[in-house]
Symmetry: C2
Subunit: 584 residues, 2 copies
Amino acid sequence: CFKHHVMDIMCCGKPSSTASMQAKVQEKSETFKVHLKEKSSQKSAEILSVQYGVNVFLVGLLLMLAVTLHKAGITEEHLLSYLITLMLVQLLWMLWQALRKYKHKDFIKEKDCHAGARWLRGGLTLFAFITLILDSFKLGYFIGYSGCLSAAKGIYSIVHAVFTVSQVYFLWFSAKDVIQSFQTIERFGVIHSVFTNLLLWAFGILSESKHQLNDHKKRLAALGNLTLDYHEPQCNCTTNACTVFASGFYYLYPFYVEYHIFASAMLFVLWKNIGRSLEHHRYRKIKFRSHGAMVGTIAGLIALAITIGVLVYITQVAHSKHKKDSAIILFYSYGVTILTLMSAAGIIGLLIYRVDERPIDNSKNPSRKLDSDLLLASASGSWLIAWGSFLAIICTDKYPPHAWINLPYSLLVILETYAQNLFIIESIHRKHRKTEDEYEVIQRVFSVTNSSSNLLATLHHKSLDEVIKNEKKELPYMTHECIPHVDDHEDNEVHNSTISLSSRRIKLSRKRRILKNIAVFLFLCNISLWILPAFGFHPQYDSGLEERVFDFETWIAVVNLAMPFAIFYRTHSAASLFEVYCII
Amino acid sequence: CFKHHVMDIMCCGKPSSTASMQAKVQEKSETFKVHLKEKSSQKSAEILSVQYGVNVFLVGLLLMLAVTLHKAGITEEHLLSYLITLMLVQLLWMLWQALRKYKHKDFIKEKDCHAGARWLRGGLTLFAFITLILDSFKLGYFIGYSGCLSAAKGIYSIVHAVFTVSQVYFLWFSAKDVIQSFQTIERFGVIHSVFTNLLLWAFGILSESKHQLNDHKKRLAALGNLTLDYHEPQCNCTTNACTVFASGFYYLYPFYVEYHIFASAMLFVLWKNIGRSLEHHRYRKIKFRSHGAMVGTIAGLIALAITIGVLVYITQVAHSKHKKDSAIILFYSYGVTILTLMSAAGIIGLLIYRVDERPIDNSKNPSRKLDSDLLLASASGSWLIAWGSFLAIICTDKYPPHAWINLPYSLLVILETYAQNLFIIESIHRKHRKTEDEYEVIQRVFSVTNSSSNLLATLHHKSLDEVIKNEKKELPYMTHECIPHVDDHEDNEVHNSTISLSSRRIKLSRKRRILKNIAVFLFLCNISLWILPAFGFHPQYDSGLEERVFDFETWIAVVNLAMPFAIFYRTHSAASLFEVYCII
């Protein structure tokens, strides 16, 4: 067998006496049985915990629903107490976790190098910092109106601030852990944290929608279309800062919402990693290098600058009836331009991948799988709104002045999201730069086995893929830590083995530069497209088009449901594009 | 290395000349490059197609939403034309598929033995048959009212009947296929079919809810609580059978709904299998043996008989105000009894698994993964309704007469679903009966390697799990077809190697009998619990409890959203429990 030869090179025989070895075999056999038992209880612990989490989440959602409806029975205090309890439970669990880490320094033996990248944790910290500002604003607002607001609101702000600080600390140091001990309790703890964050995210969206709907009603009232019925506290503010705080909420909620969804995504990866046995393949540290993407950066920055201009203009004219229409047309024209450029960039990127022959990286990676799933799921939010507008335009009988530009806008949203998802997912699944493992291994296999007469017999029995997989497992540089491998060593090897490869690298390099430019351009454009809806500019509320075909209330419900996903889509794809930029 | 020894036994060297071998190596290398390229386009084809499917689905949902709202612009004809188009496209694709199969008899080389079990296809055929009856009823109803119903309804019934027959034919012969050619087009075709079926499922639910809400309103009107405003055709029926047809809808829709969700689940597994390279582990054919579960069968049949009695009683008294309350109390008492027994059975099953040491089967199996995911997702429907009732009871100030029994009922629904999910998922992930591969293999490994001095060195480098995985791959009985392996041969081996195993088997056999009884009892109880809601008995509409805390309209929306999942949960867990019964 060709394996003979590989073995002869790889295996390092340690001679030992037969008796001690048999004892060890016995021991191994016992360990194996325990291992099997652990594996079986692991599966049921997984199901147990996920069911618990779903139930916690459903109860929270129902409480929110009841609170929104303002019916008898369930009040906002009930909801806030529930959320505070959940946060306290999570705090206790994180404390226990921290104590364990402090006592047994080495109780985490393995780390998943793909989870919790440094820039992701950095982003989380930034969002958390702004969330803390929001908490202090809320506390200030509560103190101002303390005469007529329930104490639960004040307690909520304080607990939430403590919770935020502790969670960032926890995630900063534990996001990469692969937990192997106390798995059942750990699973419950982590899934509890995932769903607590999801509930706080939903609560954030609810509060934000309330604020935005209030604002929208105020604007409509100013235009004389609607009588005022929005809710404000029933007493006077005792400090001077209440209005400042209230208008601050408007700009801070988007970050609060993003913070919780990021945290729950990182916790979910932590949960997926519990009890996992890692395949030890080499890990390449992601480095951020700014050079080589000048064109994309400049184009992206121009888009960003224009966006901020548009935002400022729209905020200025929001309360004037005549200028409102022109603001909507401006928004759509701006959108059509930027989306056309982004779609073009995405499609060019895909075409480059079509002519590029890089292999796919199919290794198991929960963090990457979650990224792809979240992209697809959150894109559905954009699609739902876009298709709603599209159907409204082609089916309605009365057209508002901006219908002609709403149509291409909606179609471009769908096209751009479609192409961008493909581009991102294809990028993160490719093997980039010097990680061309398979090419290298296949070369080694063939050079080793050239002299073996049993090769073909073996190949008949196994697929080539399996051969390579086994081969890779046996390569001697398997490590148990997140140590980035050294590029140079491998480079030499590749250069020695074939010369044709290096000439190909030069060609690839140009492609790589184009891809890098596309990634950075799309990154900045996604941030631009995040800014407008996150800070409350939703022409879908104002356009008066969709409500002809769908009911006004229903359409607002659809937008309120889908918009958070559409907004999250932009931050999430920006984060993914940043990663794409670094790995290309 | 210990692998040496294994190799010496396994490998069968075929001597061949060096020149021809090198040519073959060259060829293999080329194939490998093509293979890599295919793999990369496969990933993007997957994302391309799933995004297409989601968009098709969203457009359909929005059309349904608009039609439900009865606003200007989008009418039912638009929706029906859209559905008819989707079905025609799927018909074309299935025709193309059938032609290809007819021309190239061997173009499907591999089959996934876990997909599309015979009893699953049998169930599908049964549901499809009843769906055909519904189609003919609809056609009859259309002919009766043809004066005032749009032609789209008639065409829809005809196309749907053709579609149903073709799809059952297609799934009967293709559900196990692992498609390897024309992957991109195939992916589009299959995902189109998945989402077409999902849309038809949603359309079925919509129509059913309309009928049930109409019926509910009629009942309320009969009790004098509400003025009548349900929709009926505006002309007279030209035949005598219209009322018969209309009341037939009521009993036939549940099957229509189940048919489409089953079909889309089977198609989804087909989609997941496209381009997959199967791990060839031995497949055990599932056999249905009726003996050994007498107690469970009798208890289950009693539950089923009582259910039918309850259904008949409730249908009789539905229109009387006084008896309505007693009917609701009867329903809840019946529910509490059956759910208590089911929870107890599920928990006993789980306890048996806790003391049982059977290993977990962790092999990749899309069909099983889908089963677990669907169980968890659809159980959320039950949980949402149950938590809603629970919160309403503990928060409201006015209690209806049946609140005291609604509380334990809601909690038992949650507990029972929780325990049953754990039981089913644990059962389908265990290695049952004579498939104790791992024990066997580990014994073989140790017997072969006893004399090897390098074993421990190797074990240091690899986890035992990997060793076993490799070992299994190399066992000579790998087959490319779905041939069930012969039990007896393996039995002998196991008996020879250890005697202690056979004494353990007798003990296990008693446990197995208990598990079999539990599975069959739960199976029949799930069918019982399916019958009542599927045929339209929803005390959640009538109880007057939840609408105090949640708004009436909102609560109806929640129930209408969650109930289809809760009903699907029952059929799906019945199907899974049937499988569990067969494999234990």
